[in-house]
Structures are given as C-alpha cells and as structure tokens.
Symmetry: none
Subunit: 220 residues, 2 copies
Amino acid sequence: MSGIRILVVDDHAIVREGLRSLLELADDVEAVAGASSSKECFEMLTKDTYDIILMDLKMPGIDGIEATRLIKKTYPHIKVVILTNYDDAEYVLESIKAGSDGYVLKDVNKGDLIKIVRTVVHNQSFIAPEVTGKVFLGLKEGAKTSSSQDHFRAILSYRELEILSFVVNGMANKEIAEAVCLSADTVKTHLKKIYKKLGVSSRSQAIKIALQEGLVHFSR
Amino acid sequence: MSGIRILVVDDHAIVREGLRSLLELADDVEAVAGASSSKECFEMLTKDTYDIILMDLKMPGIDGIEATRLIKKTYPHIKVVILTNYDDAEYVLESIKAGSDGYVLKDVNKGDLIKIVRTVVHNQSFIAPEVTGKVFLGLKEGAKTSSSQDHFRAILSYRELEILSFVVNGMANKEIAEAVCLSADTVKTHLKKIYKKLGVSSRSQAIKIALQEGLVHFSR
DNA sequence: TTGCAGTTACCCCTTTCGGGTGGCAGCATT
DNA sequence: AATGCTGCCACCCGAAAGGGGTAACTGCAA
C-alpha cells in the first residue's frame, strides 16, 4: 500500500511550508501538496487525488467550511481536517455539519499532527480535546428546549449585571454601594450569588468570565 | 563575518517550523532558533545572542509588543521584526513605539522574507507596504491622546508583566506565587509596584488598564 | 393559595489584599 | 570606593473581600 497523499489548503505560504516540512518527516507520507485558496484546491482535485486535506478555516474567498461542504459533495472519500486557530474554534459545529472528519488547533505539536492525520485516514474522526466542550455546548443550544438547560451558566438578573459591570470597571464594594444606593453588605450578597452563577470564587475570575462571555463591558 | 543568527518567537510550532525551513535556505543565515513564548524568548536571550528576532504579535501571556519593549530595553542592538497576520496590522504604531525595526505580514512570500531580514540586520527598518497606510492613519489619530499618555505610563518589568498576566487571568496571589516559585509576599510587593506604575489602587482596576492598554491578554 | 426568584440587609468569621517599611544584589555612574 | 538606581524579596498591620447563614419584603406564576 502506498503512502498518504496530503493536500494543505491555507492562504499563508508559511503555514503551508511549515506543514509540509513537518509532515514529510513521516515515512508513510507519500506527498504533501499545497493550495493557497479554495479555488486552487478544487483545481488540484481535478488533476490529482489525495487521501486527506488539511483545511484552513479563515481564507479570502470561499472559506474552509464551504470548501469542505463542496469537496465532500464531489469527493466523499477524501478526508478533510480543519486546521485552525483557537479563536476560530467556535466553528466546530459548522465544520462538522459540513462534513469534516477532524478539527485540530494550529498549536498542535508536530508529533501529534502526524498521528491525527493517520487516525483520520484510517476512518476515525478526530476533534481536538480543547474544543470538544464547545461542541456539546453548541449541540445543547441547537436542541433548544426552552427549559432550564442553563446548567452551565445561570442567567444573571439585571441587578447582578449592573453590579458586575461596576466590578469589571474597577470599583470596590463600598463604591458600588454608594453608586446604586445600597448597603455594602447587600452588594456583597449579590456578588456571592454572581460568583456562584458564574462558577468562580473571586472578583478577578468573575471579571474574566464576564468579559469573555460579553456579559458586560468596560465603560471607558 | 559570520552569518545571521535568527530567533523566531511564535506560539505556533507550525509557524516556527515553517520559518526555520524557509530561512535556513539562505546561506548567510547561520542559525534559526525558536521560542514558543515571550518568557522562553527572554530566557534564550540570556544564554545566546541573536542578530534579529522575528516576533509574533498575538501570544498568550506577554504579547509581542510588550516583549519588544522589554527586549529593546535590555538589548537595544538586537533587531526585532514583528511578524503578524493582516488582522493584527492595526498595531503597527504600537509596535514601532515599542521599538520594533520592522513589520511584516505573515503571507509574505519566502524570497522577500529573507531579503527583509537582511535589510533590517543592516540597520534599515522595514514596514510592509500593505500596512504603511495604517501608520499614517495612526499617527494622525494618535497625535492627541494615546501617545501622550503612553509617556507617563512607566514600563513594567518582565516579572511585573508576568504577574499581571496571572492576575488578569483570575489567579490569587498565593496561586501566582506557586506558579512562579515566589513567596506570596513577594508577589504582593510586585503588585504594589504594578499598581503604582499603572496609577491604580486595586486588582480590578489594574485588570481593566492592563486589558485596555493591551499589556496582557486572557490565556483562554 | 403556595411557592419561587429577586432584592435588600444583617450577623460572624477567615482569607486575601494593599500600603508602609526595610534589606539585598547587580549594574552603571561618579 | 562611593554613589544611586532598579529589580527583587520579605515582614507587619489594617482594610477589603469572600463564605456561611438568617430573614424580611416584593412580585409573579403555577
């Protein structure tokens, strides 16, 4: 049996070059070709055949997800692995729906990448552990049952959001109390509930979650 | 005269590998080393010397701009070229202020990159033509507010930035102390100096400034 | 009606922070 | 050699924050 034929689709020459030099180290890799766009990828597929395609997500023109969909439509036997930055990881679900066989973050270390390629070529799909959580989250949101499946993150009340906003903007409990005309103790009570709902145990952790989830913002 | 010694700082192994394979093709390149973080970069600078550093912009922990500032403070003779995605190109001005000698987009083609490295090593700075427009834009806007305040803001030491990064990510002093092998008291001392330099008086205020000024980032 | 969620407020107690002070090593300047 | 500066480390003490519980009042919905 011949070696694995790989096609790397990424608009950055550096990434293509890097992947090529990494993957060619493996002796079961027969060839590593590169395409700088989805368009070029399609053209190459009409000329040669590949076992697996490593596909970037963000690209000018047709993006990785759409490209995956189109490839799988015409060449269902070719494996497609999405290779992406962590920032793009929210698109896991879409890419799986589009028919991708794997989802790998770009900061994967070199040894693992070759293993993953082999895994996928042998008919097993792979999703980076860092992003599997997002998949489940997305599936549950997609199932949408209007009931209380906010097991992960309870909804903050208006008062709580208001106080959290002051916290994020660097105010102390006493200052917040004056700003909203409450006792400092009450502010603390609210904060305790906020921490519970966010699943944290300190002010700074709450700030991080609040900003990352977009619950509140800096008020300049 | 010996060849050019290059240090590549990027959190993605793929990019480091790609740059290495590209740059080592040139026969006037003596060595290409890699660091996966600003921290590792600093450590390597104490052991070896390099002519030029190719620095990624977005990195967990201390980002490329702050790292450039610190490097230039201690090793003003070492050239620093920011290597970044086009999306980050808005930070040209900041990186120039930080002392960088060049600004190159990651989709530069291989031949040009080596030429640029040579250009910069020979004491000429380089900015990718695609982003020069942004520089002028930034100069016009920056004339009033941001630049004037940046002069008042004292430069944080590496240790201070490191600790600030932990703080922003929700860690308590005791946890930070364990992470960096210090006593909790020492962490507190550093924090006090950080607060003084940032002009704040509490953890949450420091977090706000740090994030707004882009001194550190969330580590996911 | 009962029950629940939100809001407000207080208690006690422990842990964590933040400010002040001082010591020490390295490094460049004088 | 003496000087000053900076980064780094450490202790004391009062203030702030966090965790536990209790309890009252409101409005809204099952």
